[in-house]
């Protein structure tokens, strides 16, 4: 992909508010999104990309003046698995996010201040409601495919549960249909790190009359901890082992081992691109996600005839293969046409972002099949 840019759409307004599954309403929702490739004449070639926890609309190509490609550039583009010579690829920033779509750091039109913790709680279903509104805005009725990794895969699954007739093919990668106690525990500690930071100021850190710089330490800690779960033990060993960051050990409690330097860097660059409140809202969404709790869910997918590709990575321990197997079991038992692949990769959960032959070939084959 060459140069790409982010669009902005006002999808919900006071006359047409967004009704959330929890009962609250948002009277104004703007969505940032990007598209790659061309929509064909009968609007039948759209592939919808759902991003994960900290992703954004900039999935592919380069923004003017930037040398850093979008987060999924290796899979989107001419000749790539999401082939933009053939398909029209759409990727929006999530509701509740902080990268152009309305979220807790947006201005609440009712008060003229940032929502903060007054932003309503979200569910995966709410993301999908907004995705559908974006599709309608783009004049598309039905998707050729929806695809996403991690929390992106959860949105794809939820979409198929709600309106399967709209999703011909669903690609669910390194995702979960129900978090374990350990998954919830990690997210809970991350949120505590943010909320206990004095800079959080009970969620009011964005208010002009609250003189704090935000929960920067807490957010960095949350991100560092999350990064440990994104890489496998083996991946960390291969990447860093017990190497020191400098030629000689410095001792002390600061950065000494290379793995410490890596985490420190990840924590610090994250602060420039992510908002702590979005982190709270988006992680909490996952904790409650449990679509198969509804006994009718799979039946609806089967009736809507969505076809599934479910994938996992063998060293992923954020959402290990058992999470994918559970999804597959539910789908297959309910008569949904489902393919499943566990990909071998040393890189843990992060593998879904990487260019791995076997992985990309499997996605390309599934999307390319008639």
């Amino acid at each position: 992909m060459g140069t790409t840019h982010t669009h902005q759409a006002e999808l919900f307004t006071p006359d047409n508010p967004l009704r959330l599954s929890g009962g609250a309403e948002l009277a104004q929702v703007e969505v940032a999104y990007e598209t790659y490739g061309e929509l064909n004449h009968d609007a039948s070639n759209a592939i919808f990309v759902c991003h994960a926890l900290t992703g954004d609309a900039h999935a592919a190509g380069f923004h003017e003046g930037s040398s850093k490609p979008g987060w999924w550039d290796n899979i989107i583009g001419p000749g790539r698995p999401l082939d933009t010579d053939r398909w029209f690829v759409i990727c929006p920033n999530l509701l509740g996010g902080c990268r152009g779509t309305t979220g807790p750091s947006s201005i609440n039109p009712a008060t003229g201040r940032a929502y903060g913790v007054d932003f309503p709680l979200l569910q995966i279903s709410d993301f999908v409601t907004v995705h559908r509104a974006l599709l309608a805005h783009l004049g598309i009725e039905k998707l050729y495919a929806a695809i996403g990794g991690s929390m992106g895969g959860m949105q794809v699954l939820q979409w198929a549960v709600e309106t399967p007739e709209q999703v011909e093919r669903a690609v669910v990668i390194a995702a979960s249909s129900r978090l374990t106690a350990q998954n919830i525990a990690f997210s809970a500690v991350a949120r505590q790190a943010i909320m206990r930071d004095p800079g959080f100021a009970e969620g009011r850190y964005l208010d002009e009359d609250v003189d704090v710089e935000g929960p920067r330490s807490g957010l960095a800690i949350a991100r560092m901890m999350a990064h440990i779960t994104y890489l496998s033990e083996q991946g960390l060993a291969e990447k860093f082992g017990r190497r020191f960051q400098n030629e000689q050990s410095l001792g002390g409690f600061g950065v000494d081992f290379a793995v410490e330097s890596y985490l420190d860097h990840q924590g610090s660059v994250f602060l420039d691109r992510f908002d702590a409140l979005s982190y709270l809202y988006l992680t909490r969404v996952m904790d409650y996600f449990d679509p198969f709790d509804d006994p009718e869910a799979v039946k609806r997918i089967a009736e809507g005839a969505t076809r599934f590709l479910v994938m996992s990575f063998d060293t992923d321990w954020r959402f290990n293969t058992n999470h994918s197997r559970r999804i597959v079991r539910q789908l297959v038992d309910g008569g949904v046409q489902t393919s499943f692949r566990e990909i071998t990769s040393p890189w843990g959960h992060d593998s879904f972002l990487l260019e791995l032959d076997d992985y990309h070939r499997t996605v390309a084959a599934f999307l390319g099949a008639p």
Copy 2:
């Protein structure tokens, strides 16, 4: 065990300072310790218990007026694997700790203030130096056995490396001879949580003229995160699953799931019994531990004729069985008499603290063998 109490010994003084492996000296070291059972006439029945990161000298029995037994009471006592009818059991609090033995929160005699971050950096070897001094103080030349789990096992291993003739039997449980990048990463994030807490005040929070209450949030976060690694995914699932703490879900970002309540409680009770500086010092010690880096280490053990029992737990992912296997391989290759057992237990790393039949029988058999 019935009522037990903690003794205090001044093991190093200005005339006889503690020389640390890093080169620094401590002119005054007091050690808190407990003993259970009776030392026999030729002082040949002593078993030395080395505690883990957050343990203390109170390993067994009950302190006057308390209904909470010592942390390893289930394994120490009449008829238990560390049978106090037969053996004299010793357990000291570690150097650098905060439960009666000199550490960073102790008063530095040179300044009249708490050491804080001026306390010298430690190595596992320094713990062992102090252990040997305690033995001498008690008039014991040689141990019937040394035993410890997790960081306790590291001390046992180091002791055998340094003075194997002093350790007839070594029991190393759920320990490591070399942390992985993932192990180091978890500890690094825990330390960052503490040091980035404004209450840390660059390690000066104990000074009377520094008006902060200490890094309470950071220490709680560190402890919560550590607790996730002490329990297996399966153990957390069995204990908590996706249950809510109250009858109904509360929503929001606070404690809602039972696993969140558990972590919150663990983080909070820890503040009453542990010092954040000790947490920094004692976790950092483990990162650098690598006794087999010395090619002579195993040879010395073999010459000293220490016999080893190495144990792991199959769901432990803090120090998984590979850590124990590495120790066993090194010992066996060097001709050290070594038994190895991996115990089946759903409870992860914490298993070493639990009363598990197979585990306790194995320890009892090894200690009871002639």
